[in-house]
Symmetry: C2
C-alpha cells in the first residue's frame, strides 16, 4: 500500500465519523487519530448535541487518542480529518504535538492549515507539523454540501409555511 492509499484508508475512517455527524444533524466533519498503523481516537462534530463550541471532531478525537495512549503527547500520531481544521483545532494539534495533519476538503472561510490562516506551520513555533491536503476531498465536500443544501431547503420551507400561516391568520 503506497502513501496515498494509506492516507485514503484512514480518511475513509474519518468519513465514517463525518457520516455519523450527518445522521445526528451536525455539520458533517469527522476525524481519527492514527498511531502505529491503528486508529487510537475517533470523533465527529457534536457542537449542537453537546451545545459546546469546543466539541469539534478533532478535539474529541485528540482527547480520545490521549485516553487510549495514556499521554497528552501525541508526537508519534497523525490526525485525519474530513475538513481543514479551524484555528482552535490547529492550536490543539500543536498543543498535542501531533506529527501530521491530513485533511480532505479545504475551508475557504476559517481554514487554519493553509487556506485562510496557516497556524500549524507558522515559523514562530518550535516544532514542525506536516500537512497533507485534498485526500478524498470530493467525498468530504459532498457530505458538507448535502448538509447545507438540506438546511437551506428546510429554512425555505419554514419561511413559506410561516408566510402561508400568517396570510391565513390575517
Amino acid at each position: 500500500m503506497n502513501r496515498l492509499q494509506q492516507h485514503e484508508r484512514w480518511m475513509r475512517e474519518a468519513l465514517r465519523e463525518a457520516e455519523r455527524a450527518l445522521q445526528e444533524g451536525e455539520v458533517p466533519v469527522g476525524a481519527v487519530v492514527v498511531a502505529n498503523n491503528h486508529v487510537v481516537g475517533r470523533g465527529h462534530n457534536r457542537v449542537e448535541a453537546l451545545q459546546d463550541a469546543t466539541a469539534h471532531a478533532e478535539i474529541l478525537a485528540i482527547t480520545a487518542a490521549s485516553n487510549t495512549l495514556f499521554t497528552w503527547r501525541l508526537d508519534q500520531a497523525d490526525l485525519y480529518v474530513t475538513l481543514e481544521p479551524c484555528i482552535m483545532c490547529a492550536g490543539a494539534v500543536l498543543n498535542a504535538r501531533l506529527r501530521r495533519v491530513v485533511y480532505g476538503a479545504s475551508d475557504p472561510q476559517v481554514g487554519a492549515c493553509g487556506s485562510v490562516f496557516n497556524i500549524v506551520q507558522d515559523p514562530r513555533h518550535r516544532w514542525h507539523v506536516d500537512v497533507v491536503s485534498g485526500i478524498l476531498a470530493e467525498r468530504c465536500s459532498e457530505l458538507l454540501n448535502a448538509f447545507f443544501q438540506e438546511k437551506r431547503r428546510l429554512r425555505k420551507r419554514a419561511t413559506k409555511e410561516d408566510r402561508s400561516t400568517s396570510s391565513a391568520g390575517g
Copy 2:
C-alpha cells in the same frame, strides 16, 4: 464598582482556579466565564491529571459555561483567565463567540491575544472580540513563577541524587 474593580473581582475568581491547579501539580492557570454579572463556568488547567493537551483552563471553563447556559453561543459572556490564551484557546473564544477576553499575565512564548499571535483580533474574522490585558498580572505571574521555580528545584535535586547514586554504585 468601576470597570477595573469589576475586572479584578472576576480575575480573583480565575486566580482561585489557578491556585487549585497549583495544588494539583499543574501549570497554574485558571479561568472563569462571566455572564450577567455571574460566574457561569469555571476551569483550571488539567493537562497532566487528564493527560489531555486540550484540557486547558479556558476550554474547560467554556464547556462549563455552555452547560450552564444550555448554548454554545456565549456572545453575552466574557472570559477571565490568569494567563494570555494560547492559539487553541483563542480559537475556542472565537468559536464560542465570546464578547471579551480579560487576561492577567502575558505569555511571551505562545500568547495568542497580542504577545506572539493576535488571533482574536485578526481582521479576517467576521466578529470582534475585546481584549483587556494585565489585570492582577503580578499575582498571576507569581503563581506561574513559583510553579516553575519549584519544578527546577526538584529537577536539580533529582539530578544530584542520580549522580550520588551512580557514583556510590560505580
